[in-house]
Structure formats: structure tokens, C-alpha cells
């Protein structure tokens, strides 16, 4: 690890005031400390924001506000989350290990870097790690790579499970900019595709802080499922994952939400399939048709074509699981 200056800050204003370009904020540290050990992140200073940001989870108006320093585990135990946004708890429990969930913050979860093996291997080129050095994953071992939304500069996928649920539920990210202005970024605009700047994972302005995450009220607390497929049963990143939620009324689907992890540079929403499901009566055939619409737009690389049928099956199964009361 490269030497760095360590500083604990007491509030968001102090954190923003102390933040220089070469410094990085640290919260849970589960991703950043690892990246620093591997010399992928080399900040000259660390600002410990663990005491500076809110950690409470509170019903607010018609939705719920989650402090950026709430631990991932908090999301799995909070009674309001479990009663009104159980998909969020389910997604968090599908990720990492109990130890990591006890450490990792919600804000940090949004900002975690990709687990693409070429990003981690400093002897290979990676546009995300070193701008304009090339993409080692493209035409390499592409098994874990994206099947949608990628370009020749980057085929990495976003690793978070929590973010897939937040994308499905149209959450919002509350931030504070260096000039101490509070702003809101819709969750689906928070993470970005590689475009010409794959080294940037998201649209968070330079030196800004995530302070809270907001989830609006929704009718998806009864029929939901999070299905994650991976190389081992637990404690592994997704090959593909599916967050599915249905709002059923009089035996018909009034609204549907479908999002995936492990398929793109950002948590991915399947809008066309959601639209198709609207007004339909749930059945195996309807779910199969929805899954068909999901995979229609995918374009696998040479090494990860298996992800397409896997995703199709995962969507069908997740939708079926929505019907079984929990």
C-alpha cells in the first residue's frame, strides 16, 4: 500500500472542505482497502467519513430515507425496509458475506468498483484502471463480462446486488457537492455506461459526497423475488441476477419491475419486458414471453454467450417466484 495521510472528519461540511483531488473518502473500506493493497487505488490521503454521514433509516413522507453510512446489514434488519421494501433486504442478503455486510456502507455499495479480473490484474491493460490503456477483457477471458450496453473500451459489469434492487424500485441518490449544495440524482442516472470514459463508473460530481438514498413508496412489497446465479451457492459475484416485482390486482399484473445485475456496466432495467407484462394475467407462457423480450436486446461476447439462456431462465424463474407468497 502507498503511504497516505489519514484524517477523521466529523460532518459532511468538514469532509467536503478537507477533500482534495488526490484524497479519497473512506466509509466501510471493504472495497477501497482491498484496491489500495493491490495498488489500484493510490490516494494520497484518506478522509474517514464514518462519523460524518447519517446512518439512520427512516420513513420520510411517502418513501424511506437511508443514511449513506447505514451498514448493508442494517437494510436486512430494519422493520420498515422488511415490511415495505423487502426486495432491498433480499438483494443485500444475496451479496457478500455477513462480515462484509456488517462493514460495508450503503453509500460505499453504490460506489464499489467492478470485479472484472482485468481491472484487478495490474499487469494487463484496463481502461477503467488506466485511461486509454485498452481493454484486456475484450477478446480475453470474457466469461464474467457484459452482454448489453458495453463498447470496445470496456466490457466490465457492475457488481452490486443492492443496486439492482434500487434500480428496480426507482430510488434516488441524495448528494452534497463541494459547494455544499444538496442535489438529487435519479438512481438510473447515477451509474453510467462506459461510453468514452469507462474509468468513470457514475455521474457523481468530482469531490461530492453521497449523503442518503431515497426509495419512493411502491406497491411491490408483496410479490417480489431476487434471483442470483453464480459459480458457487453463496459468497460470489453474480453471473446474472434478476430483481423482479409484480403489482397484482384482481389476478392481473398492474405493474412490473425487472432489473438485472451481472449484465452491464450499470444495474440494468428491462423496460420493454415490464411494459409487456402490464395488464397480463400471470402464466408460464406470459413470463416466458417477457423473458424472451429481455434477452432479445442482449449481444453476448465470444466467451459469455451462456449468460443469455441463463438470464432468460432466471427471469422466468424470478417472475414465477414473485407469485409464491413468502
Amino acid at each position: 500500500m502507498r503511504p497516505f495521510a489519514f484524517q477523521k472528519v466529523n460532518n459532511a461540511a468538514e469532509a467536503l472542505k478537507s477533500k482534495k483531488a488526490e484524497a479519497q473518502f473512506i466509509a466501510g473500506g471493504t472495497n477501497l482497502v482491498d484496491l489500495m493493497k493491490k495498488h489500484i487505488a493510490q490516494p494520497e490521503a484518506l478522509l474517514d467519513v464514518s462519523a460524518a454521514l447519517p446512518k439512520d433509516i427512516a420513513v420520510s413522507g411517502k418513501g424511506i430515507l437511508i443514511g449513506a453510512m447505514a451498514r448493508n446489514t442494517d437494510l436486512t434488519l430494519n422493520k420498515d425496509i422488511l415490511a415495505r421494501y423487502p426486495l432491498v433486504a433480499r438483494a443485500v442478503l444475496a451479496g457478500a458475506s455477513p462480515q462484509i455486510r456488517n462493514m460495508a456502507s450503503v453509500g460505499g455499495n453504490l460506489l464499489q468498483r467492478t470485479r472484472c479480473p482485468y481491472f484487478y490484474d495490474v499487469s494487463t491493460p484496463c481502461n477503467k484502471r488506466k485511461p486509454d490503456s485498452g481493454c484486456g477483457a475484450l477478446n480475453g477471458a470474457e466469461r464474467m463480462s457484459a452482454i448489453v450496453g458495453y463498447n470496445e473500451k470496456c466490457v466490465a459489469v457492475h457488481p452490486s446486488d443492492l443496486c439492482v434492487a434500487l434500480a428496480a424500485l426507482d430510488a434516488e441518490v441524495k448528494i452534497m457537492t463541494p459547494d455544499k449544495k444538496e442535489k438529487t440524482i435519479p438512481f438510473l442516472q447515477f451509474h453510467k455506461l462506459p461510453e468514452a470514459t469507462p474509468w468513470k463508473d457514475n455521474t457523481l460530481p468530482e469531490n461530492a459526497l453521497i449523503t442518503q438514498v431515497y426509495i419512493p413508496e411502491n406497491p411491490f412489497h408483496q410479490h417480489f423475488a431476487y434471483l442470483k446465479l453464480r459459480d458457487r451457492t453463496s459468497y460470489a459475484f453474480a453471473l446474472v441476477s434478476v430483481a423482479a416485482a409484480l403489482h397484482l390486482e384482481n389476478g392481473k399484473i398492474k405493474a412490473a419491475r425487472l432489473a438485472s445485475g451481472g449484465v452491464a456496466h450499470k444495474p440494468w432495467r428491462w423496460y420493454e419486458a415490464e411494459e409487456f407484462l402490464k395488464g397480463k394475467t400471470p402464466s408460464e407462457a406470459v413470463f416466458a414471453e417477457a423473458a424472451e423480450r429481455v434477452v432479445k436486446g442482449t449481444k453476448p461476447l465470444a466467451g459469455n454467450a451462456f449468460k443469455v439462456p441463463m438470464l432468460k431462465g432466471a427471469v422466468e424463474t424470478a417472475l414465477q417466484n414473485c407469485l409464491t407468497p413468502l
Partner: protein, 196 residues
């Protein structure tokens, strides 16, 4: 404040370091010192007050020190093990304020003000913690390297109430790997303690 005695470990490390230093030509050493001064930012030593196993310690540590290294190298508490050092194996699991965390991904500088419990702090004097006893009785280990982490995680797993079924125990112990494959004994140990 606990006084640290010279240990066999300290002696071995120091003599190895001196031998290596003596073997290097002076010019090479000077070169590396120069490179370090130009390329690397200055090291920051932090005075840290840390409470481990109900005992207060005051140490000076480089800002880069992880809790795991602080426990093992500065405090001589070598029960917590360094397996992968990247948060993938769970061998370094300790409790902070009663909750299981990975000490290899925790910076020591972030720990002051909190209570750390390691495998050394689990027993009550000569009386083993029920989980330690259960691991012995149920063959919860072979080589023993992952065991301190497994036991710290298992204690937390029971406290969290995640012991409803074998599947639930396996899921909530998935952050601790055992290359010997003592998983069946580990699950039985946890069931035994959960039933107490």
C-alpha cells in the same frame, strides 16, 4: 498499556532484517531511500488507543496498518489469521462492538473508540467458550488455520439467530472458507451451541 516483551517471532524477524540490510551494498540502499523520498508521499505514524479483549493498548502505527496487522504484529495477538488478506477467506474474522467483521479490510486508524474481541478474548480464563468446546467435540477443524475465524464467525452466527436450518447456517457461514473441508463438523458445532 501493556508492555511488549521480545518474542521468538520478534527475534527471527529482526535478525532476518539485519542480515538482509548488511548484505546490500550501501549504494543500493541509498538508491532505494532516494526513490522512496521522491516517489512516495511521507509515511504517517498515528498514535492509536485501541481496546482489545477488554484491555486498552496505546500504540504508534503507520496509517496503512490494518487491524489484522496491528493485532498480530504490534499486540502479539496472533490468533487471528492472515489467509488471503483480501476479504475472501474469513480467517481474520474478529468482532467489533460484538459484530463480526474482517480485520484485514479494517484500517486500524478507524478502530479507536470501539471494542475489539479476538479469539484470544473468547474464553473465560481457563474455561473455553462453548463454541470452542463444540469445535473440539464435533471435529470442527483439521489443520486449524481457519478455525479462529470460523469460531468468531460461528459465535456471531448464533447471536444473530441465523441457525434455523443447515442451509441457513451454511449461508451465514459462507464468508469463512475451510480448505480441509471440515464444514460438516463446523455446522454441527454451531447447531450444538445454538441448542444450548
Amino acid at each position: 498499556m501493556t508492555k511488549q516483551h521480545y518474542s521468538r517471532r520478534f527475534f527471527l524477524k529482526s535478525s532476518a532484517a539485519f542480515t538482509a540490510l548488511a548484505a546490500l551494498p550501501a549504494g543500493v540502499k541509498a538508491f532505494y531511500v532516494d526513490v522512496e523520498n521522491v516517489v512516495l508521499p511521507p509515511r504517517q505514524m498515528l498514535p492509536l488507543k485501541i481496546k482489545v479483549n477488554r484491555q486498552e493498548y496505546e500504540v504508534q502505527a503507520d496509517s496503512r496498518t490494518t487491524l489484522l496487522d496491528l493485532l498480530r504484529e504490534n499486540l502479539g495477538l496472533t490468533g487471528s489469521k492472515k489467509g488471503c488478506d483480501h476479504g475472501q477467506c474469513g480467517a481474520c474474522t474478529v468482532h467489533i462492538n460484538g459484530e463480526r467483521v474482517l480485520s484485514c479490510l479494517t484500517l486500524a486508524a478507524m478502530v479507536p473508540g470501539q471494542e475489539v474481541t479476538t479469539i484470544e478474548g473468547l474464553a473465560d480464563g481457563d474455561k473455553l467458550h462453548p463454541m470452542q468446546q463444540a469445535f473440539i467435540e464435533c471435529d470442527g477443524f483439521q489443520c486449524g488455520y481457519c478455525t479462529p475465524g470460523q469460531i468468531m464467525s460461528a459465535v456471531a452466527c448464533v447471536k444473530e439467530g441465523r441457525t434455523g436450518s443447515v442451509e441457513e447456517i451454511k449461508e451465514f457461514m459462507s464468508g469463512n472458507l475451510c480448505r480441509c473441508g471440515a464444514y460438516n463438523g463446523i455446522v454441527q458445532s454451531i447447531q450444538k451451541v445454538a441448542a444450548l
